[in-house]
Subunit: 153 residues, 4 copies
Amino acid sequence: MRSSREEIVDFLMREFPQNTCVIQAVGNGSATVKHEIGTDQLRPGGTVSGPVLMTVADVALYVAVLGEVGIVPLAVTTSLTINFLRKASPQKSIVGVCKLLKVGRSLAVGEVALYSEGSAALVAHAVGTYSIPRKGHPDYARPDRGTSKEIEN
Amino acid sequence: MRSSREEIVDFLMREFPQNTCVIQAVGNGSATVKHEIGTDQLRPGGTVSGPVLMTVADVALYVAVLGEVGIVPLAVTTSLTINFLRKASPQKSIVGVCKLLKVGRSLAVGEVALYSEGSAALVAHAVGTYSIPRKGHPDYARPDRGTSKEIEN
Amino acid sequence: MRSSREEIVDFLMREFPQNTCVIQAVGNGSATVKHEIGTDQLRPGGTVSGPVLMTVADVALYVAVLGEVGIVPLAVTTSLTINFLRKASPQKSIVGVCKLLKVGRSLAVGEVALYSEGSAALVAHAVGTYSIPRKGHPDYARPDRGTSKEIEN
Amino acid sequence: MRSSREEIVDFLMREFPQNTCVIQAVGNGSATVKHEIGTDQLRPGGTVSGPVLMTVADVALYVAVLGEVGIVPLAVTTSLTINFLRKASPQKSIVGVCKLLKVGRSLAVGEVALYSEGSAALVAHAVGTYSIPRKGHPDYARPDRGTSKEIEN
Protein backbone atom coordinates (compact mmCIF):
# COMPACT_ATOMS: atom_id res chain seq x y z
CA MET A 1 0.00 0.00 0.00
CA ARG A 2 1.48 3.26 -1.09
CA SER A 3 2.23 6.34 1.00
CA SER A 4 1.55 9.94 0.18
CA ARG A 5 4.13 12.69 0.44
CA GLU A 6 2.45 14.03 3.56
CA GLU A 7 2.55 10.64 5.28
CA ILE A 8 6.24 10.25 4.50
CA VAL A 9 7.12 13.79 5.59
CA ASP A 10 5.26 13.16 8.83
CA PHE A 11 7.00 9.81 9.37
CA LEU A 12 10.46 11.28 8.76
CA MET A 13 9.83 14.11 11.21
CA ARG A 14 8.80 11.67 13.92
CA GLU A 15 11.19 8.77 13.34
CA PHE A 16 14.10 10.20 11.38
CA PRO A 17 14.76 13.64 12.88
CA GLN A 18 18.39 13.40 11.72
CA ASN A 19 17.19 13.72 8.14
CA THR A 20 18.20 16.98 6.46
CA CYS A 21 16.57 16.46 3.07
CA VAL A 22 13.27 17.99 2.01
CA ILE A 23 10.82 15.83 0.07
CA GLN A 24 9.58 17.66 -2.97
CA ALA A 25 7.57 14.87 -4.58
CA VAL A 26 6.93 11.17 -4.35
CA GLY A 27 4.79 8.72 -6.28
CA ASN A 28 4.66 6.56 -9.38
CA GLY A 29 7.82 4.73 -8.43
CA SER A 30 9.73 7.99 -8.11
CA ALA A 31 10.80 10.61 -5.60
CA THR A 32 12.45 14.01 -5.66
CA VAL A 33 14.29 15.38 -2.64
CA LYS A 34 16.30 18.52 -2.05
CA HIS A 35 19.16 19.45 0.27
CA GLU A 36 20.26 23.01 0.94
CA ILE A 37 23.95 23.69 0.59
CA GLY A 38 25.88 25.78 3.07
CA THR A 39 29.50 25.81 4.28
CA ASP A 40 28.95 22.60 6.24
CA GLN A 41 28.29 20.73 3.02
CA LEU A 42 31.45 21.80 1.24
CA ARG A 43 34.90 20.23 0.90
CA PRO A 44 38.32 21.47 -0.27
CA GLY A 45 37.80 23.01 -3.68
CA GLY A 46 34.57 24.69 -2.64
CA THR A 47 32.29 22.08 -4.09
CA VAL A 48 29.65 19.93 -2.49
CA SER A 49 31.20 17.00 -0.66
CA GLY A 50 30.73 13.46 -1.89
CA PRO A 51 29.02 12.35 1.33
CA VAL A 52 26.33 15.01 0.94
CA LEU A 53 25.60 13.78 -2.58
CA MET A 54 25.53 10.18 -1.32
CA THR A 55 23.14 11.19 1.46
CA VAL A 56 20.75 12.83 -0.99
CA ALA A 57 20.87 9.74 -3.22
CA ASP A 58 20.21 7.43 -0.27
CA VAL A 59 17.30 9.48 1.06
CA ALA A 60 15.76 9.82 -2.40
CA LEU A 61 15.82 6.01 -2.68
CA TYR A 62 14.34 5.57 0.81
CA VAL A 63 11.52 7.98 0.08
CA ALA A 64 10.78 6.41 -3.30
CA VAL A 65 10.66 2.97 -1.69
CA LEU A 66 8.36 4.16 1.12
CA GLY A 67 6.19 5.85 -1.46
CA GLU A 68 5.85 2.55 -3.28
CA VAL A 69 5.51 -0.02 -0.48
CA GLY A 70 4.12 2.08 2.35
CA ILE A 71 5.72 3.21 5.59
CA VAL A 72 8.13 0.37 6.29
CA PRO A 73 10.61 2.13 8.56
CA LEU A 74 13.19 -0.64 8.55
CA ALA A 75 13.69 -0.76 4.83
CA VAL A 76 17.47 -0.45 4.73
CA THR A 77 20.09 0.29 2.10
CA THR A 78 21.92 -2.87 1.08
CA SER A 79 24.16 -1.30 -1.54
CA LEU A 80 24.89 1.97 -3.31
CA THR A 81 27.10 2.81 -6.26
CA ILE A 82 27.66 6.43 -7.18
CA ASN A 83 29.60 8.05 -10.00
CA PHE A 84 30.55 11.69 -9.60
CA LEU A 85 30.34 13.43 -12.94
CA ARG A 86 30.64 17.21 -12.53
CA LYS A 87 31.36 19.70 -9.78
CA ALA A 88 28.20 20.83 -8.06
CA SER A 89 27.68 24.51 -7.44
CA PRO A 90 28.49 25.52 -3.84
CA GLN A 91 25.68 28.01 -4.03
CA LYS A 92 22.75 25.87 -5.09
CA SER A 93 20.74 23.20 -3.37
CA ILE A 94 21.24 19.64 -4.49
CA VAL A 95 18.23 17.94 -6.04
CA GLY A 96 18.00 14.16 -6.21
CA VAL A 97 15.53 12.50 -8.56
CA CYS A 98 15.00 8.81 -7.92
CA LYS A 99 13.40 6.36 -10.33
CA LEU A 100 12.80 2.85 -9.05
CA LEU A 101 13.93 0.19 -11.51
CA LYS A 102 12.39 -2.76 -9.73
CA VAL A 103 10.43 -3.34 -6.56
CA GLY A 104 10.39 -6.99 -5.57
CA ARG A 105 9.02 -8.65 -2.47
CA SER A 106 12.19 -8.12 -0.50
CA LEU A 107 14.48 -5.96 -2.61
CA ALA A 108 14.06 -2.67 -4.41
CA VAL A 109 16.52 -1.23 -6.91
CA GLY A 110 16.51 2.37 -8.05
CA GLU A 111 18.64 4.98 -9.73
CA VAL A 112 19.11 8.58 -8.68
CA ALA A 113 20.11 11.53 -10.81
CA LEU A 114 21.67 14.37 -8.81
CA TYR A 115 21.69 17.99 -9.93
CA SER A 116 22.54 21.47 -8.73
CA GLU A 117 19.13 23.14 -8.50
CA GLY A 118 18.31 24.93 -11.69
CA SER A 119 20.86 23.12 -13.83
CA ALA A 120 20.19 20.21 -16.15
CA ALA A 121 23.82 19.03 -16.06
CA LEU A 122 24.05 15.79 -14.11
CA VAL A 123 26.33 16.24 -11.08
CA ALA A 124 26.28 12.59 -10.04
CA HIS A 125 24.43 9.35 -10.75
CA ALA A 126 23.70 6.61 -8.27
CA VAL A 127 22.15 3.16 -8.27
CA GLY A 128 21.12 1.65 -4.97
CA THR A 129 19.34 -1.32 -3.51
CA TYR A 130 17.05 -1.42 -0.52
CA SER A 131 16.03 -4.47 1.48
CA ILE A 132 12.35 -4.48 2.46
CA PRO A 133 11.38 -6.51 5.53
CA ARG A 134 8.49 -8.85 4.81
CA LYS A 135 5.01 -8.28 6.17
CA GLY A 136 4.67 -10.38 9.28
CA HIS A 137 8.36 -10.09 9.99
CA PRO A 138 8.98 -8.42 13.36
CA ASP A 139 10.95 -5.70 11.56
CA TYR A 140 8.08 -4.73 9.29
CA ALA A 141 6.49 -1.85 11.18
CA ARG A 142 8.84 -1.38 14.12
CA PRO A 143 9.41 2.28 14.90
CA ASP A 144 12.74 3.77 15.70
CA ARG A 145 13.34 3.13 19.37
CA GLY A 146 16.64 4.93 19.70
CA THR A 147 17.57 2.86 22.74
CA SER A 148 20.39 0.42 23.07
CA LYS A 149 19.51 -3.03 21.83
CA GLU A 150 20.87 -6.29 20.51
CA ILE A 151 22.64 -6.01 17.23
CA GLU A 152 21.32 -8.55 14.75
CA ASN A 153 24.12 -10.18 12.75
CA MET B 1 55.85 12.62 -1.87
CA ARG B 2 54.06 11.14 1.06
CA SER B 3 52.40 12.92 3.96
CA SER B 4 52.57 12.10 7.62
CA ARG B 5 49.53 11.73 9.83
CA GLU B 6 50.30 15.06 11.49
CA GLU B 7 50.50 16.88 8.17
CA ILE B 8 47.16 15.46 7.08
CA VAL B 9 45.46 16.20 10.42
CA ASP B 10 46.74 19.74 10.17
CA PHE B 11 45.59 20.11 6.57
CA LEU B 12 42.11 18.82 7.36
CA MET B 13 41.73 21.21 10.29
CA ARG B 14 42.63 24.18 8.10
CA GLU B 15 40.99 23.30 4.80
CA PHE B 16 38.27 20.78 5.64
CA PRO B 17 36.73 21.96 8.92
CA GLN B 18 33.50 20.18 7.97
CA ASN B 19 35.27 16.86 8.46
CA THR B 20 34.02 14.87 11.45
CA CYS B 21 36.34 11.87 11.21
CA VAL B 22 39.43 11.38 13.32
CA ILE B 23 42.57 10.02 11.64
CA GLN B 24 43.98 7.16 13.64
CA ALA B 25 46.74 6.07 11.27
CA VAL B 26 48.00 6.62 7.74
CA GLY B 27 50.88 5.23 5.71
CA ASN B 28 51.99 2.30 3.58
CA GLY B 29 49.08 2.73 1.21
CA SER B 30 46.59 2.54 4.06
CA ALA B 31 44.60 4.69 6.44
CA THR B 32 42.40 4.17 9.48
CA VAL B 33 39.80 6.73 10.51
CA LYS B 34 37.18 6.79 13.21
CA HIS B 35 33.81 8.51 13.63
CA GLU B 36 31.96 8.79 16.91
CA ILE B 37 28.34 7.76 16.87
CA GLY B 38 25.61 9.75 18.60
CA THR B 39 21.92 10.23 17.96
CA ASP B 40 22.65 12.42 14.93
CA GLN B 41 24.26 9.47 13.18
CA LEU B 42 21.33 7.10 13.62
CA ARG B 43 18.37 6.21 11.42
CA PRO B 44 15.05 4.38 11.99
CA GLY B 45 15.91 1.05 13.57
CA GLY B 46 18.52 2.59 15.83
CA THR B 47 21.47 1.71 13.68
CA VAL B 48 24.12 3.86 12.08
CA SER B 49 22.83 5.51 8.92
CA GLY B 50 24.16 4.54 5.53
CA PRO B 51 25.39 8.08 4.80
CA VAL B 52 27.58 8.06 7.92
CA LEU B 53 29.18 4.80 6.80
CA MET B 54 29.66 6.20 3.29
CA THR B 55 31.26 9.33 4.77
CA VAL B 56 33.73 7.30 6.80
CA ALA B 57 34.61 5.23 3.72
CA ASP B 58 35.12 8.35 1.62
CA VAL B 59 37.28 10.10 4.20
CA ALA B 60 39.36 6.95 4.77
CA LEU B 61 40.06 6.85 1.03
CA TYR B 62 40.90 10.58 0.91
CA VAL B 63 43.32 10.25 3.80
CA ALA B 64 44.98 7.15 2.36
CA VAL B 65 45.41 8.91 -0.97
CA LEU B 66 46.88 12.03 0.65
CA GLY B 67 49.16 9.82 2.69
CA GLU B 68 50.43 8.25 -0.50
CA VAL B 69 50.69 11.19 -2.92
CA GLY B 70 51.10 14.11 -0.57
CA ILE B 71 48.74 16.94 0.28
CA VAL B 72 46.81 17.33 -2.95
CA PRO B 73 43.65 19.02 -1.66
CA LEU B 74 41.69 18.68 -4.88
CA ALA B 75 41.93 14.95 -5.14
CA VAL B 76 38.24 14.13 -5.54
CA THR B 77 36.08 11.03 -5.34
CA THR B 78 35.08 9.85 -8.80
CA SER B 79 33.13 6.79 -7.71
CA LEU B 80 32.17 4.76 -4.66
CA THR B 81 30.43 1.42 -4.28
CA ILE B 82 29.40 0.25 -0.85
CA ASN B 83 27.76 -2.96 0.34
CA PHE B 84 26.11 -2.91 3.75
CA LEU B 85 26.62 -6.24 5.46
CA ARG B 86 25.58 -6.06 9.10
CA LYS B 87 23.90 -3.61 11.45
CA ALA B 88 26.41 -1.39 13.18
CA SER B 89 26.13 -0.86 16.90
CA PRO B 90 24.47 2.48 17.77
CA GLN B 91 26.77 2.71 20.74
CA LYS B 92 30.18 2.28 19.19
CA SER B 93 32.28 4.46 16.97
CA ILE B 94 32.67 3.43 13.37
CA VAL B 95 36.17 2.54 12.25
CA GLY B 96 37.12 2.62 8.57
CA VAL B 97 40.27 0.84 7.39
CA CYS B 98 41.33 1.73 3.85
CA LYS B 99 43.77 -0.21 1.75
CA LEU B 100 44.76 1.30 -1.59
CA LEU B 101 44.62 -1.21 -4.44
CA LYS B 102 46.30 0.97 -7.02
CA VAL B 103 47.70 4.48 -7.20
CA GLY B 104 48.23 5.63 -10.75
CA ARG B 105 49.27 9.02 -12.08
CA SER B 106 45.73 10.34 -12.15
CA LEU B 107 43.53 7.73 -10.48
CA ALA B 108 43.67 5.88 -7.20
CA VAL B 109 41.51 2.91 -6.25
CA GLY B 110 41.06 1.63 -2.74
CA GLU B 111 38.85 -0.53 -0.60
CA VAL B 112 37.55 0.25 2.85
CA ALA B 113 36.44 -2.17 5.53
CA LEU B 114 34.04 -0.62 8.06
CA TYR B 115 33.57 -1.90 11.60
CA SER B 116 31.89 -1.03 14.87
CA GLU B 117 34.82 -0.28 17.15
CA GLY B 118 35.90 -3.34 19.02
CA SER B 119 34.17 -5.82 16.74
CA ALA B 120 35.78 -7.84 13.96
CA ALA B 121 32.48 -8.36 12.14
CA LEU B 122 32.48 -6.33 8.94
CA VAL B 123 29.62 -3.79 8.99
CA ALA B 124 30.14 -2.59 5.42
CA HIS B 125 32.66 -2.80 2.58
CA ALA B 126 33.39 -0.10 0.06
CA VAL B 127 35.52 0.34 -3.03
CA GLY B 128 36.17 3.82 -4.29
CA THR B 129 38.16 5.74 -6.84
CA TYR B 130 39.83 9.11 -6.48
CA SER B 131 40.98 11.39 -9.26
CA ILE B 132 44.36 13.02 -8.55
CA PRO B 133 45.08 16.31 -10.33
CA ARG B 134 48.44 16.25 -12.08
CA LYS B 135 51.46 18.19 -10.86
CA GLY B 136 51.59 21.40 -12.81
CA HIS B 137 47.82 21.40 -13.24
CA PRO B 138 46.32 24.53 -11.67
CA ASP B 139 44.25 22.28 -9.39
CA TYR B 140 47.28 20.54 -7.92
CA ALA B 141 47.92 22.54 -4.79
CA ARG B 142 45.03 24.98 -4.74
CA PRO B 143 43.64 25.48 -1.26
CA ASP B 144 39.99 25.58 -0.44
CA ARG B 145 38.82 29.11 -1.17
CA GLY B 146 35.23 28.76 -0.03
CA THR B 147 34.15 31.68 -2.20
CA SER B 148 31.84 31.59 -5.14
CA LYS B 149 33.63 30.69 -8.33
CA GLU B 150 33.25 29.30 -11.80
CA ILE B 151 32.04 25.74 -11.86
CA GLU B 152 34.17 23.62 -14.15
CA ASN B 153 32.10 21.28 -16.28
CA MET C 1 34.75 13.47 -34.28
CA ARG C 2 31.89 11.03 -34.26
CA SER C 3 31.67 7.64 -35.96
CA SER C 4 28.82 6.19 -37.92
CA ARG C 5 27.37 2.75 -37.30
CA GLU C 6 28.99 1.45 -40.47
CA GLU C 7 32.43 2.69 -39.44
CA ILE C 8 32.11 1.04 -36.04
CA VAL C 9 30.80 -2.25 -37.49
CA ASP C 10 33.73 -2.25 -39.89
CA PHE C 11 36.24 -1.47 -37.13
CA LEU C 12 34.91 -4.22 -34.89
CA MET C 13 35.09 -6.79 -37.69
CA ARG C 14 38.72 -5.92 -38.36
CA GLU C 15 40.07 -5.29 -34.87
CA PHE C 16 37.70 -7.06 -32.51
CA PRO C 17 36.76 -10.33 -34.22
CA GLN C 18 36.06 -11.87 -30.81
CA ASN C 19 33.03 -9.63 -30.51
CA THR C 20 29.72 -11.48 -30.60
CA CYS C 21 27.33 -8.53 -30.32
CA VAL C 22 25.51 -6.95 -33.24
CA ILE C 23 25.26 -3.16 -33.38
CA GLN C 24 21.70 -2.10 -34.05
CA ALA C 25 22.12 1.65 -33.66
CA VAL C 26 24.59 4.27 -32.49
CA GLY C 27 24.54 8.05 -32.26
CA ASN C 28 23.41 10.95 -30.11
CA GLY C 29 25.33 9.70 -27.12
CA SER C 30 23.60 6.32 -27.30
CA ALA C 31 23.99 2.83 -28.70
CA THR C 32 21.88 -0.30 -29.00
CA VAL C 33 23.45 -3.73 -29.38
CA LYS C 34 22.02 -7.22 -29.53
CA HIS C 35 23.32 -10.66 -28.64
CA GLU C 36 21.68 -13.89 -29.72
CA ILE C 37 21.05 -16.43 -27.01
CA GLY C 38 21.77 -20.14 -27.45
CA THR C 39 22.74 -22.93 -25.09
CA ASP C 40 26.24 -21.52 -24.75
CA GLN C 41 24.86 -18.40 -23.12
CA LEU C 42 22.83 -20.18 -20.44
CA ARG C 43 23.58 -21.16 -16.86
CA PRO C 44 21.94 -23.50 -14.30
CA GLY C 45 18.30 -22.52 -14.13
CA GLY C 46 18.04 -22.07 -17.88
CA THR C 47 18.48 -18.34 -17.85
CA VAL C 48 21.02 -16.12 -19.53
CA SER C 49 24.29 -16.10 -17.62
CA GLY C 50 25.48 -13.01 -15.82
CA PRO C 51 28.68 -12.80 -17.88
CA VAL C 52 26.69 -12.63 -21.13
CA LEU C 53 24.66 -9.71 -19.74
CA MET C 54 27.86 -8.03 -18.56
CA THR C 55 29.40 -8.50 -22.00
CA VAL C 56 26.43 -6.89 -23.72
CA ALA C 57 26.58 -3.96 -21.29
CA ASP C 58 30.30 -3.51 -21.86
CA VAL C 59 30.05 -3.65 -25.64
CA ALA C 60 27.08 -1.25 -25.65
CA LEU C 61 29.20 1.23 -23.69
CA TYR C 62 32.21 0.74 -25.99
CA VAL C 63 30.10 1.32 -29.09
CA ALA C 64 28.38 4.38 -27.61
CA VAL C 65 31.77 5.84 -26.68
CA LEU C 66 33.22 5.18 -30.14
CA GLY C 67 30.12 6.69 -31.67
CA GLU C 68 30.70 9.83 -29.64
CA VAL C 69 34.48 10.31 -29.77
CA GLY C 70 35.39 8.48 -32.98
CA ILE C 71 37.28 5.26 -33.52
CA VAL C 72 39.62 5.22 -30.53
CA PRO C 73 40.37 1.50 -30.28
CA LEU C 74 42.12 1.66 -26.96
CA ALA C 75 39.26 3.20 -25.04
CA VAL C 76 39.04 0.72 -22.17
CA THR C 77 36.55 -0.10 -19.45
CA THR C 78 37.73 1.23 -16.10
CA SER C 79 34.73 0.12 -14.07
CA LEU C 80 31.34 -1.54 -14.38
CA THR C 81 28.53 -2.02 -11.88
CA ILE C 82 25.59 -4.20 -12.81
CA ASN C 83 22.41 -5.06 -10.96
CA PHE C 84 20.48 -8.11 -12.12
CA LEU C 85 16.77 -7.48 -11.80
CA ARG C 86 14.78 -10.22 -13.54
CA LYS C 87 15.43 -13.54 -15.23
CA ALA C 88 16.04 -13.13 -18.93
CA SER C 89 14.26 -15.42 -21.35
CA PRO C 90 16.49 -18.27 -22.59
CA GLN C 91 14.77 -18.00 -25.94
CA LYS C 92 15.20 -14.34 -26.78
CA SER C 93 18.16 -12.26 -27.76
CA ILE C 94 19.47 -9.80 -25.23
CA VAL C 95 19.25 -6.14 -26.19
CA GLY C 96 21.45 -3.55 -24.50
CA VAL C 97 20.58 0.14 -24.74
CA CYS C 98 23.35 2.48 -23.62
CA LYS C 99 22.92 6.14 -22.80
CA LEU C 100 26.08 8.11 -22.08
CA LEU C 101 25.80 10.26 -18.96
CA LYS C 102 28.99 12.19 -19.45
CA VAL C 103 31.81 12.26 -21.94
CA GLY C 104 34.84 14.11 -20.63
CA ARG C 105 38.28 14.49 -22.13
CA SER C 106 39.56 11.27 -20.63
CA LEU C 107 36.60 9.52 -19.05
CA ALA C 108 33.15 8.58 -20.24
CA VAL C 109 30.32 7.35 -18.03
CA GLY C 110 27.21 5.63 -19.32
CA GLU C 111 24.33 3.49 -18.23
CA VAL C 112 22.95 0.44 -19.99
CA ALA C 113 19.47 -1.01 -19.78
CA LEU C 114 19.32 -4.70 -20.69
CA TYR C 115 16.20 -6.45 -21.97
CA SER C 116 15.04 -9.72 -23.45
CA GLU C 117 14.13 -8.77 -26.99
CA GLY C 118 10.50 -7.86 -27.27
CA SER C 119 9.97 -7.29 -23.56
CA ALA C 120 9.92 -3.94 -21.78
CA ALA C 121 10.77 -5.48 -18.41
CA LEU C 122 14.31 -4.53 -17.43
CA VAL C 123 16.46 -7.66 -17.03
CA ALA C 124 19.53 -5.84 -15.73
CA HIS C 125 20.91 -2.32 -15.37
CA ALA C 126 24.56 -1.34 -15.59
CA VAL C 127 26.64 1.77 -15.16
CA GLY C 128 30.16 1.77 -16.53
CA THR C 129 33.11 4.05 -17.08
CA TYR C 130 35.50 4.10 -20.01
CA SER C 131 38.93 5.67 -20.13
CA ILE C 132 39.64 7.49 -23.40
CA PRO C 133 43.30 7.88 -24.39
CA ARG C 134 44.13 11.48 -25.28
CA LYS C 135 44.83 12.62 -28.83
CA GLY C 136 48.56 12.65 -29.28
CA HIS C 137 48.99 9.85 -26.76
CA PRO C 138 50.61 6.82 -28.43
CA ASP C 139 47.56 4.77 -27.46
CA TYR C 140 45.13 7.03 -29.31
CA ALA C 141 44.84 5.33 -32.68
CA ARG C 142 46.92 2.19 -32.19
CA PRO C 143 45.31 -0.84 -33.81
CA ASP C 144 45.10 -4.21 -32.19
CA ARG C 145 48.42 -5.90 -32.80
CA GLY C 146 47.73 -9.20 -31.12
CA THR C 147 51.44 -9.85 -30.62
CA SER C 148 53.24 -10.23 -27.37
CA LYS C 149 54.32 -6.93 -25.93
CA GLU C 150 55.20 -5.09 -22.77
CA ILE C 151 52.36 -4.81 -20.33
CA GLU C 152 51.96 -1.23 -19.15
CA ASN C 153 51.41 -1.02 -15.38
CA MET D 1 26.44 -28.04 4.38
CA ARG D 2 29.61 -27.36 2.53
CA SER D 3 30.77 -28.83 -0.76
CA SER D 4 34.18 -30.14 -1.68
CA ARG D 5 36.10 -29.10 -4.76
CA GLU D 6 35.39 -32.45 -6.39
CA GLU D 7 31.65 -32.13 -5.81
CA ILE D 8 31.61 -28.67 -7.34
CA VAL D 9 33.75 -29.67 -10.33
CA ASP D 10 31.42 -32.59 -10.91
CA PHE D 11 28.31 -30.39 -10.59
CA LEU D 12 29.67 -27.80 -13.03
CA MET D 13 30.52 -30.45 -15.62
CA ARG D 14 26.98 -31.83 -15.46
CA GLU D 15 24.89 -28.70 -15.06
CA PHE D 16 27.04 -25.85 -16.31
CA PRO D 17 28.89 -27.19 -19.37
CA GLN D 18 29.18 -23.63 -20.70
CA ASN D 19 31.64 -22.87 -17.90
CA THR D 20 35.19 -22.28 -19.09
CA CYS D 21 36.89 -21.71 -15.74
CA VAL D 22 38.91 -24.32 -13.88
CA ILE D 23 38.47 -24.59 -10.12
CA GLN D 24 41.82 -24.62 -8.41
CA ALA D 25 40.67 -24.51 -4.80
CA VAL D 26 37.57 -23.94 -2.69
CA GLY D 27 36.88 -23.88 1.03
CA ASN D 28 37.02 -21.71 4.12
CA GLY D 29 34.83 -19.06 2.56
CA SER D 30 37.15 -18.77 -0.42
CA ALA D 31 37.69 -20.04 -3.94
CA THR D 32 40.37 -19.80 -6.62
CA VAL D 33 39.56 -20.30 -10.29
CA LYS D 34 41.60 -20.00 -13.43
CA HIS D 35 40.83 -19.20 -17.07
CA GLU D 36 43.21 -19.80 -19.93
CA ILE D 37 43.77 -16.91 -22.28
CA GLY D 38 43.86 -17.31 -26.05
CA THR D 39 42.99 -15.03 -28.95
CA ASP D 40 39.28 -15.42 -28.23
CA GLN D 41 39.73 -13.72 -24.88
CA LEU D 42 41.50 -10.63 -26.21
CA ARG D 43 40.26 -7.19 -27.26
CA PRO D 44 41.79 -4.28 -29.21
CA GLY D 45 45.08 -3.47 -27.55
CA GLY D 46 45.98 -7.12 -27.11
CA THR D 47 44.85 -7.36 -23.54
CA VAL D 48 42.31 -9.58 -21.87
CA SER D 49 38.79 -8.32 -22.45
CA GLY D 50 36.72 -6.90 -19.62
CA PRO D 51 34.00 -9.53 -20.05
CA VAL D 52 36.50 -12.37 -19.54
CA LEU D 53 37.66 -10.77 -16.28
CA MET D 54 34.03 -10.28 -15.22
CA THR D 55 33.30 -13.93 -16.02
CA VAL D 56 36.19 -15.15 -13.90
CA ALA D 57 35.04 -12.91 -11.02
CA ASP D 58 31.47 -14.18 -11.29
CA VAL D 59 32.47 -17.85 -11.42
CA ALA D 60 34.89 -17.42 -8.50
CA LEU D 61 32.02 -16.02 -6.45
CA TYR D 62 29.64 -18.80 -7.52
CA VAL D 63 32.16 -21.47 -6.59
CA ALA D 64 32.96 -19.85 -3.25
CA VAL D 65 29.25 -19.64 -2.45
CA LEU D 66 28.64 -23.28 -3.42
CA GLY D 67 31.65 -24.28 -1.35
CA GLU D 68 30.11 -22.55 1.64
CA VAL D 69 26.40 -23.40 1.39
CA GLY D 70 26.47 -26.61 -0.60
CA ILE D 71 25.35 -27.34 -4.15
CA VAL D 72 22.54 -24.85 -4.60
CA PRO D 73 22.46 -24.58 -8.38
CA LEU D 74 20.11 -21.63 -8.52
CA ALA D 75 22.21 -19.29 -6.45
CA VAL D 76 22.33 -16.31 -8.80
CA THR D 77 24.35 -13.13 -9.10
CA THR D 78 22.32 -10.13 -7.98
CA SER D 79 25.05 -7.53 -8.47
CA LEU D 80 28.67 -7.13 -9.45
CA THR D 81 30.99 -4.14 -9.36
CA ILE D 82 34.41 -4.40 -10.95
CA ASN D 83 37.29 -1.95 -11.17
CA PHE D 84 39.92 -2.58 -13.82
CA LEU D 85 43.33 -1.63 -12.50
CA ARG D 86 46.07 -2.84 -14.84
CA LYS D 87 46.38 -4.45 -18.24
CA ALA D 88 46.44 -8.22 -17.99
CA SER D 89 49.05 -10.14 -19.91
CA PRO D 90 47.65 -11.63 -23.14
CA GLN D 91 49.89 -14.62 -22.60
CA LYS D 92 48.97 -15.71 -19.11
CA SER D 93 45.93 -17.31 -17.64
CA ILE D 94 43.72 -15.19 -15.44
CA VAL D 95 43.43 -16.26 -11.82
CA GLY D 96 40.51 -15.14 -9.66
CA VAL D 97 40.72 -15.38 -5.89
CA CYS D 98 37.41 -14.93 -4.11
CA LYS D 99 36.98 -14.21 -0.42
CA LEU D 100 33.44 -14.18 0.92
CA LEU D 101 32.73 -11.16 3.12
CA LYS D 102 29.38 -12.33 4.41
CA VAL D 103 27.12 -15.31 3.91
CA GLY D 104 23.62 -14.66 5.17
CA ARG D 105 20.49 -16.79 4.88
CA SER D 106 19.57 -15.41 1.50
CA LEU D 107 22.45 -13.21 0.34
CA ALA D 108 26.18 -13.71 0.06
CA VAL D 109 28.71 -10.95 -0.59
CA GLY D 110 32.27 -11.55 -1.70
CA GLU D 111 35.24 -9.84 -3.24
CA VAL D 112 37.47 -11.18 -5.98
CA ALA D 113 41.06 -10.27 -6.75
CA LEU D 114 42.06 -10.95 -10.36
CA TYR D 115 45.63 -11.56 -11.48
CA SER D 116 47.64 -12.62 -14.50
CA GLU D 117 49.02 -15.99 -13.45
CA GLY D 118 52.41 -15.63 -11.87
CA SER D 119 52.10 -11.92 -11.16
CA ALA D 120 51.19 -10.33 -7.86
CA ALA D 121 50.01 -7.09 -9.48
CA LEU D 122 46.23 -6.83 -9.21
CA VAL D 123 44.66 -6.70 -12.67
CA ALA D 124 41.12 -6.08 -11.45
CA HIS D 125 39.05 -6.13 -8.26
CA ALA D 126 35.42 -7.08 -7.99
CA VAL D 127 32.74 -7.19 -5.32
CA GLY D 128 29.60 -9.17 -6.00
CA THR D 129 26.46 -10.37 -4.35
CA TYR D 130 24.69 -13.70 -4.79
CA SER D 131 21.12 -14.53 -3.90
CA ILE D 132 20.73 -17.96 -2.29
CA PRO D 133 17.31 -19.64 -2.60
CA ARG D 134 16.04 -20.85 0.76
CA LYS D 135 15.87 -24.51 1.69
CA GLY D 136 12.36 -25.68 1.03
CA HIS D 137 11.96 -23.17 -1.78
CA PRO D 138 11.26 -24.96 -5.07
CA ASP D 139 14.41 -23.34 -6.51
CA TYR D 140 16.68 -24.80 -3.86
CA ALA D 141 17.93 -27.97 -5.53
CA ARG D 142 16.42 -27.72 -8.99
CA PRO D 143 18.84 -28.84 -11.69
CA ASP D 144 19.42 -27.02 -14.90
CA ARG D 145 16.68 -28.15 -17.24
CA GLY D 146 17.72 -26.25 -20.33
CA THR D 147 14.18 -26.39 -21.72
CA SER D 148 11.85 -23.55 -22.37
CA LYS D 149 9.93 -22.52 -19.30
CA GLU D 150 8.08 -19.71 -17.61
CA ILE D 151 10.19 -16.72 -16.80
CA GLU D 152 9.68 -15.68 -13.21
CA ASN D 153 9.46 -11.92 -12.82
